[in-house]
Symmetry: C2
């Protein structure tokens, strides 16, 4: 039996869900911000949660993605009797379309797994994080997958869970624009069509397939042409003042493609990893939102190709 | 100016349209059968068509895919004044779901282009063949693309036409089963839904994306799991007695995946390129159709990785 640690800390990056046309099936891990979870063994059973900087959040463990994921890891390894203290440092906003709840889930699962001596492999960690995420944000893997595995991830199936890590071109980067807007995931889901015309479904699957090939072959122009979402983006753009203008500005400034990150309000542009182009796209998106009366922080971000990682382990 | 030839002959392979979930967007070129078109210069203007073995077919050039494609090539190169005699040797059935009209279009375009000294590149030939195919069988490129380019082809967009050749694993082969049935493309199209549930569209695009990745990475098990069409196959299976049984038998015999080729009635199974497995799948499919009262010819076929080619050139 592996020795239990006294404490373990894990980091999980944020991610772009959907990545344009890949509604619910593609996700891309993004560097530069993420959630960090520290798990400490407690003498008494049960889980105690602390989220510095978020005094308004409830402290009931079953309402926290990190705690749920850590408890899922304990349950899957027969360690329900272990007590945990969990500290979550949110580097990602709570509701911004940057995969924050998924990152918290993943970091919680990875930290708890490290505390136990890493009994679970990536597939089981994925299951644990998906189950935790399902409680707080719905059953999806397009943020959990990339946050855990890094890079670009395809969710082939949720039932059974079948998640595939795809290739990502070396010279691809991302511009993230965070407009000062609120769009609740529930509202963003409500505007989605229940049915789509067959022609739209055909178009959409061709774009997702083209994205996969473009990434595998490094064809960034094809990748850009394929960022053409005709399902979620048209439905949600009306809820996101400034987004259509920011998208047009990004493309005009040299972005390969641009769409909404997850259910928004964050938007993203894919760019060649060229500082000059990226800077133009960052400025163009921020200024376009501003002209629409929406304050916005935009930043260039690398793709996180590593995914979640253990930052620290402390023996008992 | 390049010298005009007196005669040129081109071959184009058959193909599997849709390839399961890739409705209208994926096509796979299949070896072992195809259409061969010989184009001969005539002194007088106009086009004369001959299709040995098919005395019932009309001889009006504007009703023949090969002649239409050849005329399209003449028009695109400013050679409308050249008279052509066209002989089409049909190696593919006229209406079987094996991409016969696409192969005729492609072979006609390639032969006419060869006669003119190859002025057109693959992209223009694709356009010419798509226009010809559109007249006789509807505007699709999922058979024309692979018949021209070989291998597995993705149709990202029809307008503008954007066709991408994908990777195909070396150890992949195909079993084609030709049941003695008739299913008119028009009827096969009529049963398709006009709209699909969003969840179905999501599933379908995940499968097509997974197929592309599986082929790029050589993951044949993933490829098999991804052959799961929930749009066309369920609608058409009811029109194709014996197909559900043949599919079950193929999978049971070791096929990676199985679905309907194009709009049917031909069905296909993807198999590892292993003679023993392939022989079992061939037998299993034929016997399953037979038990359902449907005579069937089944054969193992390699993937045609070359696409259309010029077989002979004869100087003037």
């Amino acid at each position: 039996m592996t020795a239990l640690l006294a404490r373990a800390t894990a980091f999980a990056p944020g991610s772009i869900g959907n990545v344009g046309p890949g509604f619910d099936v593609l996700g891309l891990a993004v560097g530069g911000a993420g959630d960090t979870v520290t798990v400490v063994r407690r003498q008494s059973r049960g889980v105690v949660v602390e989220i510095p900087g978020h005094p308004d959040l409830p402290t009931e463990p079953r309402q926290h993605a990190s705690a749920l994921a850590a408890m899922e890891v304990l349950a899957r390894t027969g360690n329900d009797d272990i007590g945990l203290g969990i500290k979550v440092v949110k580097g990602l906003p709570l509701s911004g379309g940057q995969g924050g709840s998924a990152a918290s889930s993943v970091a919680g699962a990875v930290a708890a797994n490290a505390l136990l001596g890493d009994p679970l492999g990536p597939e089981e960690l994925l299951h644990a994080a998906v189950e935790a995420e399902a409680v707080v944000a719905g059953r999806h893997a397009d943020n959990v997958g990339p946050s855990l595995l890094g890079g670009l991830v395809l969710v082939r199936s949720m039932q059974p869970l079948d998640v595939v890590r795809l290739a990502v071109p070396d010279d691809l980067a991302v511009v993230l624009a965070h407009p000062d807007q609120r769009l609740r995931t529930k509202d963003a889901r409500r505007v989605l069509p229940r049915d789509v015309p067959l022609a739209t479904a055909i178009h959409q699957m061709a774009q997702v397939a083209a994205m996969v090939h473009a990434c595998a072959s490094g064809d960034l122009d094809l990748l850009g042409r394929a960022i053409d979402d005709r399902i979620a983006e048209p439905a949600r753009a009306t809820l996101l003042p400034g987004f259509p203008e920011a998208k047009a500005a990004a493309l005009n400034a040299g972005a390969l493609g641009c769409s909404i990150s997850g259910s928004g309000p964050t938007s993203f542009a894919l760019v060649r990893d060229d500082p000059a182009v990226a800077a133009r796209v960052v400025d163009a998106m921020r200024e376009a939102y501003a002209r629409a009366g929406v304050a916005c922080i935009a930043r260039l971000a690398p793709i996180d190709r590593t995914g979640a990682r253990v930052l620290a382990r402390e023996a008992a």
